[in-house]
Assembly symmetry: C2
Homo-oligomer: 340 residues x 2
């Protein structure tokens, strides 16, 4: 069996994967940007490809039976362009990192350790009780509303629950007996999204990007949030309307935003020296915005967990066993997993 | 009944307390620094005093039956100087704020959102996966060791558990069936403190300051910590030897420290304009130290929760009912609650 890894995250992975897979597999690494004849010859031989991207116009891949994504998001996969006999699978394993990021960001918004640290380094005790400072915030008693209640939201909810946080969620298919439902005080469908917005201190965007979710949070819905409410986006930027979010933060009609997933990205091949502001609006000028570079899930154990799942899936393919995290079965249609 | 509030945290409390207590109580507010004859006349009449400080040489308080602390720490109370017939009680209610602070500080140490934010504001994506950044840390899988396993440590452990954190604790009276013991993978007495130190990623100081705990963490024990381990002090500075902690942080023999409770404090009457560096050593020059001004428990709901308990205790005193949070019964000895 031939595995092609296209634009793999790091150079050691191919070797590690070869070890896990054993002698039945030959592993090749390449890039989408390779000369077309090289890419064509590699795709012609591939039984499985690990890649985040698939589009029309790629050279033919007649033997391809598994398109394995190395991450969770499949918005860069053109399913219609994937050969008919090929299954498409993704991997998750980022729930741990992303849920830690969410709780970290919410706690810092309340406790504001960085601000206290900066002051005390100058000898200023303005935030301490000794000089009768105002009290800082508590996460205790806050309401966190999730848009989407999949793996990430459930793991975040599980970590937030012991803080005395009230959890609300709006999801495509609300199931009162589904996983994690016992954590949610207010669970309903997307049709009741507007109901939830006035009640939340934090609106956490945790659904995939697709035609149903693009721009789902626009100016009208942002106006339903309270003036202290924060938008937290760890999913995909365009689920929240770029201009409307910037205006709401700039004008203080909401409390602000914690944004990990953006509207503009750097050239992946351009190196760390390049500069790329992540929006056409100057979020970087706003003090009520926390900006991180699509890194919430990019945490220590992620790659080991993901490549273990990928190795397992390749072994399953080899043995004809059911695949994990199937987004599209061979010859099948995209399941409705695309909605939030 | 006459209640005297000495050095009360804020001016509205007396009025609020009067409402809760009803007509049986007269509430007076004053300060330890008031002219002696005024302090003497107030203490002469007082059935109960709310104060954080009590020392030899105060004017007599012949009617005093309850010395009620407005906080948890009783290291500024000279129990031998308290009139024999007077009970001493404290209040907690800061477990929520302090446990939120602990989790916030640990998560930020791993995820490092502030660093990412500063870079992305300049258009730099060096911490994101798009440019193949190194992975940031995960709290998942870390070991947190508590010195002391009282209310604060238990509330922190309860919040840390869903993150997949391993909990260890050393406490004066380890009880495998006591509250919160089910969260602790490694629970033992203070005599086994040294055993715990090499295994922890975070050592959280959560015991009271007394003769048994002063300097308990000195140079020898700091050397038992691993080179990435962080000391987190939310209790009282002098439990950790000042010079040894500074040297360990400066020399990188430990990972660093997160310090909320200090060695030097500002003059409580000196106003926010004064400058007071919190140690005779320049912790403020170290990048691996997080410095906050004794504020971890100083959070939004704290005072309402505390004054509710105080009002309840005063009502119990009036009715002759058992008091809450008794540190010393009237005529009694200081219970051994002083050890960690």
């Amino acid at each position: 069996m031939n595995l092609l890894i296209l634009d793999g995250y790091d150079a050691e992975r191919g070797a590690l994967l070869s070890e896990k897979l054993g002698s039945g597999w030959t592993v090749t690494e390449g890039r989408h940007a390779d000369p077309r004849e090289i890419l064509a010859s590699r795709l012609a031989d591939a039984d499985a490809v690990v890649t985040q991207y698939w589009a029309e116009g790629l050279p033919p891949a007649p033997r391809l039976r598994l398109l394995q994504l190395p991450g969770a998001g499949f918005d860069a996969i053109d399913f219609e362009a994937v050969p008919a006999g090929c299954a498409v699978c993704n991997v998750y394993e980022h729930e741990i990192g992303i849920s830690e990021y969410i709780v970290a960001a919410l706690l810092e918004r309340e406790v504001r350790i960085a601000r206290m640290d900066a002051a005390l380094r100058r000898g200023e005790w303005r935030h301490g009780f000794v000089l009768g400072a105002p009290l800082h915030g508590e996460l205790h008693g806050r309401t966190v509303g999730f848009l989407g209640y999949g793996r990430i939201a459930r793991e975040a909810a599980r970590r937030l629950a012991p803080f005395g946080v009230r959890i609300a969620a709006r999801t495509r298919s609300p199931d009162p007996s589904g996983p994690g439902a016992e954590l949610v005080a207010d669970l309903a469908g997307i049709d009741r999204l507007d109901d939830m917005l006035p009640s939340v201190d934090y609106l956490v965007i945790a659904c995939p990007l697709n035609d149903a979710t693009r721009g789902l949070i626009g100016a009208r819905r942002l106006a339903l949030l309270g003036p202290a409410a924060m938008v937290v986006n760890v999913s995909r930027g365009p689920i929240v309307d770029e201009e409307a979010l910037y205006a709401a933060c700039r004008d203080g009609t909401i409390g602000g935003a914690i944004i990990d997933t953006w509207y503009r990205y750097p050239d992946p091949t351009g190196g760390v020296g390049q500069s790329c502001l992540p929006s056409r609006f100057p979020f970087e000028t706003l003090a009520n915005v926390v900006m991180t570079p699509h890194a919430s899930g990019w945490s220590a154990g992620l790659l080991d967990r993901r490549w273990s799942v990928i190795a397992d899936n390749l072994t399953r393919l080899e043995r004809g066993e059911p695949l994990r995290n199937l987004l599209r079965p061979p010859g099948g249609m995209l399941p409705s997993a695309g909605a939030p």
